[in-house]
């Protein structure tokens, strides 16, 4: 019994989603191999080899894997699937795209976004935007195909020294091609990896006003996020969205500003260790889950917060 973990990485660096997913893979039991697929991703393979409890790292590099297109990734994973009883990947936009394709080609169901491993075939996952938790059990006869809501797991430590084996990629499927990308460039940490997040909602009133959040983010080394309402209103791009259908985050500190607290937003951030809400409506549902609530007009509160942080030496 062995598991194949398809890693998330940015070529030279391994995403911490991979180390967290490894913890879930080890909880299932058996050996774990990590697959690094792409082009020029030797750095990520070396980082993966250092994770504790990895049997070996498989490195597949080819031009047609560089963009992680679903059809190509699925073909690669299928070429390796026979040797494994479980295939796992962190529930990122890349894996959410190709993993169900793998499941279908294997003719097995997929279990999406597990938040706990209760046994070799038994998992917990959220349904109805986080309003219910389901315990599910896959048939032991089926190969497991699982995506992992990795924010629910601790990262595996870096104390290993697994070998790296270069493997050949299958020939390209060529059903689709990447023709453009508009990726947000930012010096701030990524939302899913940030220790502190400050998010704005419709209460921000404009994209321009997000500068108020950015100034505080820079003091705290925080990432800037947004509610669906703020993204739909066009204040910020889609990749800022925190929520059930956006990014699911679990930072140490989450500051929600001008966010009322729609259920689908809460589903994306309620695992934060400490939640602060700043909202002028004292009835806003966000206050029901916040550890610290401030009922205030954000346009006064944010400059005050910035000043207080400066006073505190941050």
């Amino acid at each position: 019994m062995a598991a194949l973990l398809v890693a998330e990485h940015a070529n030279s660096v391994l995403s911490n989603a991979t180390a967290k997913t490894l913890t879930a893979a080890k909880a299932i039991g058996g050996d774990v191999d990590i697959l690094i697929a792409g082009k020029g991703c030797g750095g990520a393979a070396e980082a993966a080899a250092k994770l504790e409890g990895v049997r070996k790292v498989l490195l597949a590099e080819a031009d047609h894997l560089a963009n992680h297109l679903a059809e190509e990734m699925a073909a690669l994973v299928m070429s390796l699937a026979e040797g494994y009883s479980a295939i796992l990947a962190p529930a990122t936009s890349i894996a959410k795209n190709f993993m169900p394709r793998v499941a279908a080609l294997l003719d097995v169901p997929q279990i999406s976004e597990i938040v706990a491993v209760e046994g070799p075939h038994r998992f917990r996952r959220l349904i109805y935007a986080g309003n219910a938790v389901q315990t599910v059990e896959a048939s032991p006869a089926d190969k497991l195909v699982v995506t992992v809501r990795y924010t629910a797991f601790a990262a595996a430590p870096e104390s290993g020294s697994a070998s790296i084996e270069t493997i050949a990629a299958p020939s390209p499927v060529n059903l689709s091609q990447l023709i453009g990308e508009e990726l947000s460039a930012s010096d701030r940490p990524e939302l899913t990896a940030a220790r502190v997040i400050i998010s704005g909602g419709r209460g921000m009133q404009s994209g321009e006003n997000f500068k108020l959040l950015e100034r505080i983010a820079d003091k705290l080394g925080a990432a800037v996020g947004a509610s669906r309402a703020a993204v739909d209103a066009g204040y910020v791009p889609n990749d800022y969205q925190v929520g059930q259908t956006g990014k699911v985050v679990a930072p140490e500190l989450y500051i929600a500003v001008g966010i009322s607290g729609a259920i689908q937003h809460l589903a994306g951030m309620k695992d934060a260790k400490v939640i602060v809400a700043i909202n002028k409506d004292e009835e806003a549902p966000i206050f029901q889950i916040a550890d610290y609530g401030v009922v205030a007009d954000l346009f006064q509160a944010l400059p005050e917060l910035e000043a207080e942080l400066t006073k505190a030496g941050l």
Binding site: A70, E71, A74, T92, S93, I94, K96, N97, P100, R101, A103, A104, L105, D107, P109, Q110, I111, S112, E113, I127, A129, G130, N131, A132, V133, Q134, T135, V136, E137, A138, S139, L175, S176, Q177, L178, I179, E181, L183, S184, R228, P237, N238, D239, T245, K247, E252, V274, I275, E282, I289, A290, Y292, G293, V294, E304, L305, E308, L309, K311, A312
Partner: protein
């Protein structure tokens, strides 16, 4: 170009769900049901393609109980040309849905199938990708823009880092994200007209696809709730609390 849009009947997104006290699932008796919001976006997109002269026919398909007819009538009222109901009372898994849709695709031979990226009940986010795999078609998931030109689909996708545009050979499967469009409300005359549009029923037994779920649902429970904390009066107090009590900086 023929477009198929699968639609799912789910608990309305505004309803606060009730979990059965025995852990046996979510209570859907006497609860308002609606079309899955992502599927509504898919229907809207297909209709816009027809209005733009890109699509010739839009077919809505639902798999579910007799009442899923209502969801299909909504799609017809929005502007779909005809509908197919695959009637079953079994709660079926995404993989089974994909197999049934594949069978329908083989009969209808569409050029494009547009699905919601996920249903807001089970939040699986699987069916479109599985369908594409079973058909051997390319996929464009989480679409925020679809352009059909020169026999291909140019799909802009919402990804973790921002946006990505891919080019798909047709036939293809596309799944919708929230910002693809804003679905219309069906007008009263169109709701009346929809009653006369063709709605065919298929018995899934004739497709030879096993419907029994392969994943056992053992329990459904309330998530552990966070407790409301306390209100603080001002930012000075907040910073002090975060530093001294919460210890986050």
């Amino acid at each position: 170009m023929k477009v198929i849009v699968p639609v799912k009947r789910v608990v309305d997104y505004n309803v606060k769900i009730r979990i059965k006290p025995d852990g046996g699932g979510v209570d859907t008796a006497n609860v308002k049901m609606s079309m899955n919001p992502f599927d509504e976006i898919a229907v809207e997109e297909a209709i816009r393609m027809k209005e733009a002269g890109k699509a010739t026919e839009v077919i809505a398909v639902s798999i579910g109980p007799q009442k899923a007819q209502e969801t299909l009538r909504t799609a017809l009222a929005m502007g779909a040309d005809r509908a197919i109901l695959v009637k079953t009372d079994v709660a079926i898994e995404p993989m089974t849905v994909a197999k049934i849709l594949k069978a329908i695709a083989e009969q209808e031979k569409p050029d494009l199938m547009i699905l919601g990226k996920q249903a807001i009940d089970d939040d699986s986010n699987q069916t479109g990708q599985m369908l594409a795999a079973l058909l051997g078609w390319p996929q464009g998931t989480f679409a925020s823009k679809i352009v059909i030109e020169d026999g291909k689909a140019r799909v802009t996708r919402e990804v973790d880092g921002g946006l990505q545009t891919i080019l798909l050979n047709l036939p293809a499967v596309v799944t919708t994200d929230l910002r693809l469009n804003e679905p219309r409300y069906a007008s009263l005359p169109n709701i009346m007209k929809a009653k006369n549009k063709p709605l065919a029923e298929i018995d899934p037994a004739t497709l030879g696809i096993p419907l029994e779920p392969r994943i056992k649902i053992l329990r459904t429970e309330e998530p552990s709730a966070r407790k409301a904390g306390r209100k603080v009066a001002n930012m000075a107090e907040l910073v002090a609390m975060l530093r001294e009590e919460a210890g986050v900086f």
